[in-house]
């Protein structure tokens, strides 16, 4: 039982990170119709923004985190201007290839800037843990779950209780109608990219102390976030959260109770099953043609 609780917390912590990456994925897709294959590199970039502010600049915690997230917001704007705007009239294939190419570029830029050696990103709670009976639970892992819950709550408030959030949802639902209603569509689209980048930044900052900061960390996260959105439902925010947590838990619990050698097969096998049986995922709507 003690081991189960320990695994459960670990699975939820990893799932929370996948969920945040998946939410970023979904926000961009809903608003712009772009499947951002650089989503994993956004998370990696967030981790390295932390490396820059915490390790290189040695800033105190709140300032370091704040600066890292501002860097990520600026990165979101830059991505919107230099990648999305030039490509938005291109075909789906062009956009996919474009984001894959940008993903490789970001990764190699990080390699050139930071080198091949990974970094140990510190955590505000260091390596502290909570002992409950025979269970030792990492404080950082609990913090990751808590921060993700706060972020999800904040997103709900943004999308349901603010005019900006309602505007973003309007743009996501019908861009032409939003334009006719006088909404500043480009600004709202840019905000979607900023939001995705900031969420990825939060995920990256939380992931760094757990996994080390490594320029190659993006691709596995992108794959898992992609699986999470398929399982939860493409375009659904609740789906991204549930899908992310599900992938994290299935990874950890599958390795423990089924087979450590086939744990990825379990996650991706479930994703394939969804694609075959219920392509809209758990929360998604029936898939229709989309521009």
């Amino acid at each position: 039982m003690a081991d189960f609780v320990q695994l459960l917390v670990n699975g939820l912590a990893i799932g929370s990170v996948y969920a945040l990456a998946a939410i970023g994925f979904v926000i961009v897709y809903s608003a712009t119709g772009v499947v951002n294959f650089a989503a994993g590199q956004f998370v990696m970039y967030g981790t390295f923004a932390g490396v820059a502010t915490l390790i290189n600049l040695q800033l105190p915690w709140p300032l370091a985190y704040g600066t890292a997230l501002i860097i990520m917001a600026m990165f979101g704007v830059l991505f919107f201007v230099s990648v999305y705007l030039p490509m938005r009239r291109g075909s789906i294939v062009t956009i996919i290839i474009g984001t894959v190419a940008i993903s490789i570029t970001i990764q190699n830029a990080a390699l050139l800037s930071f080198g091949s050696w990974p970094f140990r990103l510190p955590s505000p709670v260091e390596d502290s843990s909570i002992a409950l009976g025979g269970t030792i639970i990492s404080t950082h892992a609990l913090g990751v779950v808590g921060v993700t819950a706060i972020m999800v709550g904040g997103l709900w408030l943004l999308f349901n209780r603010t005019s900006v959030g309602v505007g973003m949802r309007a743009v996501a639902q019908d861009l032409q109608a939003a334009k006719l209603m006088g909404l500043k569509v480009n600004r709202l689209l840019a905000l979607s990219w900023v939001l995705a980048a900031v969420l990825a930044g939060v995920a990256g900052l939380m992931l760094g102390p757990m996994w080390f900061a490594d320029v190659n960390m993006g691709d596995p996260i992108a794959l898992k976030a992609f699986a999470a959105t398929i399982i939860g439902g493409f375009g659904s925010l609740p789906g991204a959260i549930v899908g992310g947590l599900f992938v994290g838990l299935s990874e950890v619990l599958g390795a423990s109770y089924v087979s450590s050698a086939y744990k990825d097969l379990i996650s991706f096998g479930i994703m394939i099953a969804f694609l075959l049986v219920r392509p809209q995922g758990v929360f998604g709507e029936k898939i229709q043609d989309r521009g």
């Binding site: 081991d3 320990q6 695994l7 670990n10 990893i14 190699n108 390699l111 091949s116 050696w117 990974p118 970094f119 140990r120 390596d127 843990s129 002992a131 030792i136 990492s138 757990m210 996994w211 080390f212 490594d214 190659n216 960390m217 691709d219 596995p220 990874e251 950890v252 619990l253 599958g254 390795a255 423990s256 450590s260 050698a261 744990k263 990825d264």
Partner: protein, 383 residues
């Protein structure tokens, strides 16, 4: 005045002879080209950069010492990334365009296995550092290993577990590839031969970042020691997570977890109760050529050297020795390498067998209490 046929033919022959002599002279002065396929980008570059640096240092040292009988050497690098197909493409590109007299292949067995058939076609001697026994068992006469084979490393880990830690119920955690599986199976057989039952064997993927399930499973099965067959970054992550999960049993790692690229990620607490089998004990306290190598490498590249890089440096020096003695003819050089016995490198004593295995010595180390300094527990030499 017309040109006679005789003078015309004479002048043609003269020009041809002059150009031939010129080209022979140019060839004599041209550097000897060496090909090196190295993971310079991607997750494997963690160690790849180390042996790229070591080979660059070896090139400089060989040329400073007069080169190969007055001819300089030039190492041409190609990136293998973390992919077997990229490794093959890198090798083929070098073989076709650069046509090197000698090759250095990567330290990753899967890449070595992928490149082996191409090397057999090219028929040029090559040194490699992948540990999988499968590479040597493939019977490619052109391949020479510059590190201990995984079976040797696994035996060393078993020896440390039985003789030093005196474990009775070992568990094994391994990375799921040729290296990890081969090492884990060898270790399991050695334990069985010693009358010790392995309580559990757990695997993980090369891109995995969470090992809590595997570690807790082994603890649940009653493991009193865990042997870990790992690469550098995952090895560091396993050691760290073991501590976070409150595991108290000794851990015995393969060499990659104790290279500087990995230990810089760990705290002294992470290394408590950690033993390891490293290719070579690299410390300035060893003195002599080891001290010189460690100090020069650090001042040149700004980072600590590791045993993988040292193996390539030794390999390059051995290659240069062979070229000075028997020249660059591939077959003659290959035969000379196969006959090498007791060649004293900085990290190892090299004696090659028919399968191209040259190293049988390694070192058991342990982190000094409360520090990240590795101390020598015992050297191990195996047959």
């Amino acid at each position: 005045m017309g040109i006679t046929r005789k003078s015309f033919i004479g002048s043609i022959i003269g020009v041809a002879a002059l150009s031939f002599t010129g080209s022979v002279h140019a060839q004599q002065n041209a550097p000897i080209l060496i090909g090196a396929t190295v993971p310079m980008t991607g997750p494997l570059s963690l160690t790849g950069k180390q042996y790229q640096n070591s080979l660059a240092m070896a090139e400089e040292d060989i040329n400073k010492a007069g080169g190969i009988n007055s001819r300089q050497i030039k190492i041409v690098f190609e990136d293998t990334q973390a992919s077997n197909s990229t490794a093959v493409n890198a090798f083929v590109k070098l073989a076709q365009e650069t046509k090197p007299a000698f090759f250095f292949l990567s330290s990753y067995s899967t890449q070595n296995l992928a490149v082996a058939p191409e090397l057999a076609k090219v028929q040029v001697p090559a040194m490699y550092a992948g540990g999988a026994d499968a590479v040597a068992e493939g019977g490619n006469e052109w391949m020479f290993r510059v590190r201990p084979a995984d079976s040797v490393a696994a035996e060393g880990m078993v020896k440390a577990t039985l003789d030093v830690i005196k474990a009775k119920k070992p568990g094994i955690l391994y990375i799921q590839n040729d290296f990890g599986q081969g090492g884990a199976q060898t270790a399991a057989k050695r334990f069985e031969a010693a009358g010790i039952a392995v309580v559990g064997m757990e695997a993980y993927g090369q891109n995995d970042k969470d090992f809590s399930a595997q570690l807790l499973n082994l603890r649940g099965k009653g493991a009193d020691t865990i042997l870990i067959f790992n690469y550098p970054q995952d090895g560091a992550l396993v050691l760290r997570q073991a501590k976070l999960l409150g595991l108290k049993m000794p851990l015995v790692t393969s060499s990659a977890a104790l290279v500087p690229a990995a230990t810089q990620l760990l705290s002294p607490a992470d290394l408590e109760g950690v033993w390891g089998v490293v290719d070579a004990y690299m410390d300035v306290s060893v003195g002599g050529r080891m001290k010189d190598y460690v100090e020069r490498f650090k001042s040149k590249f700004g980072i600590d050297p590791d045993p993988y890089g040292l193996a390539y440096y030794d390999g390059a020096m051995l290659m240069a020795d062979g070229m000075r003695k028997v020249g660059t003819d591939p077959k003659t050089l290959r035969d000379w390498l196969e006959a090498v016995k007791g060649w004293q490198g900085i990290g190892h004593v090299y004696s090659y067998d028919k399968k191209g295995n040259g190293v049988r010595d390694l070192t058991v180390v342990k982190a000094k209490a409360g520090t990240k300094t590795l101390e020598l527990v015992q050297p191990v030499t195996l047959n």
